[in-house]
Amino acid sequence: MENSRYFYNIVITPPRDLIYARLGYRRGKTKIDHRQRQEIENTIEQALSIIELKGAAKRIQIEKNTGRKVILADGTDFDSNQLASMLGDSDEVLLMAATSGSRIMQAIRDDTNAGNLTRAVILDAVASEMTDKALDWISSFYRQELIRQGFGLTSRRYSAGYGDLDLKYQKAIYDSLGLNKLDVDITEAYILVPEKSVTAIAGIMKLA
């Protein structure tokens, strides 16, 4: 079992299409005038200047997969039929996490408190999409490395709080990855703080 790897400066191309889509933009339907477009773009740029994307990841062997429960080599277990099914062809998992950092969250709070909700909503959308994209970045990084060892990564990944995987498992992932090193905290209700932080599990499969 490897130690957690930390990525302190994840650089990605901002997924503008996804940011707009998250805000409800529909190509061919939504109409934005020049002034509005400029305001939105400026706010996106401001968001990008304060987002500090960091991440962590770790490979762990699967000790047992009963089809209902997945037990990892470090003793962590996940009760979830859906996760067990996704990991059906995997001997290992990749735990990963990403965060946009606390500065963007402070900016969202400041704008909300000042009544600038338009800005707050755009900042929020940028941070959400950038954080998700950071998980894609971590997956791509590992995919490149795994391929040479004869492994691939499942195309899907699973997160605590989705489907039948209880959010409480976020704590196990948090502890296993040591996310405190990225200045990420977890509440008693298993929510990550800063809020624009995510964890995920992907399967590591053999290449034919």
């Binding site: 490897e2 400066n9 009544g115 959308a125 492994f151 409480k168 509440t187 929510i191 809020e195 499969m205």
Partner: protein, 799 residues
């Protein structure tokens, strides 16, 4: 014949054929998955030798040693520490396999860690780690080096510097590009090419990540700019999922069929990566037999690069603005920040200048009482990942410049190298080593030439020294030497003459530090602007200036059109479309129609800056505040809701209109008679216990207030007991509950159950990312999919 000559001689006549995959081939021949390939090869030398031999028989001119992961970090993960010894042994095995028949490339792969400024592996540590590997491979007798599968341009640079500082062997560097044509850290093929070929790579290209089809566009993108042979090593197609296993299954014949397309794209060196086998290489060699590749370009080009962007400079191209604002001179706060080791202002200034139109960013952190070498490193590391424009390193300290050039993950420009002895003897070789461009400052230890005649003579002398140091003329930009016209009235003419001579006679790029011209004069911007226009007419290529000055940028854009640098005026039109100089206030009060129409449109378009003035104008012409609200503002916000429903508007527009409405309503409040109050009743809102996401709830609150409801917002992570207490206190007719997570969503039911137990029967509206209509039904609540629907439900319940 040495390896370099042998390679260049092959590339001159035909496509040089590399080997195919080693890792996947080892697995096919018995290496267990997850094993350390280097160790396994040493334990099974027969297998790796057979692979090398099979590739040689298939037609490879070069085979790679099985040392992709043979660096100290990767080997350390398997408990092996003697990287040098392992590299030597594996290189020897390759030599035993193929003898002297073909060439052996010492293979250097990534460490698996990111190098500063992208990661926590210090640059010098990375260089040392690679040097250890290079020495081992040299001990084992490799002919050349291949630095491959690089996803981080900085790690590729560290490896290349390690090779170049250890030996003079031919070195190829291949990056790996993700879907979308950038490396994981965002570098595109052209920028990688500019950075690497100028740093000394003898061939540049790409490998892995994609099949042949996906790789051809990368070669096409690099070819027009490549002075070195281009390399491609694609996978055997894109991996496919077959029976729950990922496979590379492109047949050799299909793989080889792309050979001609690669040839057309301009590849010079071709092989295969993951999934390819000797049969793929044999088929490829056969298809390309006798085919002559397009040679690399002979003429150099002037180009700079950052990790994310490259910039081609040239006479006749649009004027390039070098943003000058990262300079602590006269900026006390900035000075203090730099002394404290902070980089926030530098980053802000860089981004502001980029946004204002600078294509290059000058970085000058020199000032008394500062460790400039350390500071410039910090600033470069802060800027590199976040600033797309390439950097110009501006310092009087040679050590600081060397540090900046070594650490910068792109090709930078040095500002400047003059004819001063120390600059020629010490700085010029440093700039050359790191492949930088430089600004040639035509002055010497003894002379600051006043006339263009003397400047030309000094320029010629410095050009000679630069040529001897290995520079091409395309690497050099001549400073026209701007002097202050208030002190020497004829100096502008001398500068313009110098620029004209450099451009027209010498075909050299030129630059001026614009603001020097106007020192001591009032209204300096007009002198600067006029001088800029004259210099552009004389052929000026770059100007060091403040891009935040709108007059200057306007002159630049217009001059580019008039000198046919912006041929269809496309850049001019886009610039002014995005930068109309109308102020925010002017825009806000721009007349669109009658005062009535202006109020309506301000709400409809979310014009928060202009709504107050529009309302005041409407009131000034006798309109009643009540009518303004009921006949204009509310219908406008209703239309916004309808547009949102039809997806003609999206969330930022909806909220901007709601904010304009709120602002307008608050402005009119004192004028509204009490009996016409908009208060339609109280609504209590809360994000339930355990949930700290509240942006959606805040949008609902804004919309409800705009619809005339009195909203009590309890905030987020609110316990059920607190909500019950507030219901008793405020007596709302609706309670709105929000939750984002499935785990916290269940707390909505607890709130409703507790309210019922307390006999507090209220209408509950629930919403949030995971909440569904079915769930709302199951807990006896109403469901609102968004803020507009929440307001509609509230209106319906009120009536």
């Amino acid at each position: 014949m040495d390896a370099r000559k042998r390679i260049l001689s092959i590339v001159d006549k035909r496509i040089l054929i590399l080997d195919g995959a080693t890792g996947t081939e080892l697995q096919r021949r018995g290496m267990p998955r997850g094993a350390c390939p280097e160790q396994w090869c040493m334990e099974n030398p027969r297998i790796i030798k057979s692979i090398h031999r099979d590739y040689m028989k298939a037609g490879s001119d070069i085979v790679y040693t099985c040392t992709f992961g043979a660096n100290r970090i990767k080997l350390g993960q398997y408990g092996h520490l003697n990287a040098r010894k392992i590299n030597r042994k594996l290189a020897e095995l390759a030599r035993e396999a193929v003898g002297e028949n073909i060439l052996i490339a010492g293979d250097i792969g990534p460490t698996g860690r990111f190098v500063e400024p992208f990661g926590d592996l210090e640059f010098e540590d990375a260089v040392e780690i690679f040097k250890e590997q290079v020495r081992g491979l040299l001990d084992g007798g490799v002919d050349l080096f291949i630095i491959e599968t690089q996803m981080d341009i900085q790690e590729a640079r560290a490896a290349l510097i390690a090779v170049k500082e250890t030996c003079d062997r031919f070195t190829m560097v291949t990056m790996t590009y993700e879907e979308g044509g950038r490396t994981l850290n965002g570098t595109d093929p052209q920028s990688a090419l500019v950075t690497l070929e100028n740093l000394g790579a003898d061939a540049v290209g790409c490998n892995c990540s994609t099949g042949p089809e996906g790789m051809i566009p990368y070669i096409e993108a690099m070819k027009p700019y490549a002075r070195v042979p281009l390399v491609a090593k694609p996978n055997a197609g894109m991996p496919r999922l077959v029976n729950n296993m990922t496979v590379f299954d492109m047949e050799p014949k299909t793989f080889a069929s792309f050979g001609k397309a690669f040839l057309k794209a301009g590849v010079n060196i071709l092989g295969g990566c993951c999934g390819t086998r000797p049969d793929h290489i044999r088929a490829l060699a056969s298809v390309l037999e006798g085919k002559r590749p397009k040679p690399p370009r002979k003429r150099h080009i002037s180009a700079l690069s950052s990790p994310r962007k490259s910039l081609i400079l040239g006479i006749g191209r649009p004027l390039v603005i070098i943003g000058e604002r990262i300079n602590p001179t006269g900026k006390k706060d900035f000075q203090k920040e730099l002394i404290e080791g902070k980089t926030t202002t530098a980053l802000r200034l860089a981004r502001e200048q980029e946004a204002a139109g600078a294509s290059l960013i000058d970085v000058n952190v020199g000032m008394p009482d500062i460790d400039e070498t350390e500071t410039v490193k910090k600033v470069i590391c802060a800027l590199s990942p976040l600033v797309s424009s390439p950097l110009v390193i501006d310092s009087a300290s040679i050590d600081a410049i060397e540090m900046a050039l070594r650490i910068y993950p792109g090709r930078a420009m040095v500002n400047s190298i003059s004819g001063e002895r120390q600059k020629i003897e010490r700085l010029m070789p440093v700039a050359r080593k790191y492949g930088a461009m430089f600004i040639l400052l035509p002055l010497t230890d003894k002379e600051l030439p006043a006339t263009s005649r003397r400047r030309k003579e000094i320029i010629k002398d410095i050009l000679e020294s630069a040529k001897a140091a290995g520079f091409d003329r395309s690497d050099i930009v001549i400073d026209g030497l701007t002097m202050t016209v208030s002190a020497s009235p004829g100096s502008a003419k001398e500068t313009i003459d110098t620029i004209r001579w450099c451009t027209r006679t010498q075909k050299l790029l030129t630059v001026v530090g614009l603001s020097n011209i106007s020192f001591g004069l009032p209204q300096r911007k007009w002198v600067n602007s006029a001088f800029l226009a004259m210099a552009v007419q004389a052929g000026l290529s770059l100007a060091i200036a403040n891009p935040s000055n709108p007059e200057l940028m306007a002159i630049k854009m217009a001059s580019d059109v008039l000198t046919q640098r912006d041929k269809d005026a496309g850049a001019f039109i886009s610039y002014f479309a995005a930068n109309d100089n109308t102020s925010k206030q002017e825009r806000a009060t721009e007349k669109k129609g009658s005062p009535r129409e202006d109020v309506y449109i301000s709400i409809l378009e979310g014009n928060r800056e202009g709504i107050i003035e529009c309302l005041d104008k409407a009131i000034a012409v006798g309109m009643d505040a009540y009518k303004l609200v009921n006949e204009l503002m509310i219908p406008a916000i209703m239309e916004v809701g309808e547009k949102f429903d039809r997806k003609e508007y999206f969330l930022p527009q909806l909220i901007a209109s709601a904010e304009a409405m709120k602002k307008g309503f608050e402005h009119l409040k004192p004028l509204l008679e009490e009996n016409t109050s908009q208060d339609k009743g109280t609504i209590l809102l809360a994000t339930v216990k355990g949930d700290i996401h509240d942006i959606g709830k805040n949008i609902v609150a804004l919309m409800l207030r705009n619809h005339g409801f009195n909203v009590i917002d309890l905030g987020k992570d609110v316990a059920k007991e607190e909500i019950i207490k507030a219901i008793k206190e405020y007596n709302p007719f609706i309670v709105g509950l929000s939750a984002l997570m499935t785990t916290t969503m269940v707390n909505m039911r607890d709130v409703i159950d507790l309210a019922n137990k307390n006999g507090l029967r209220r209408k509950f509206i629930v919403g949030g990312a995971v909440v569904t209509r079915a769930y709302a039904d199951s807990i006896g609540a109403l469901y609102a999919k968004d803020a507009v629907e929440a307001a509609r439900i509230a209106d319906r319940l009120r009536s």
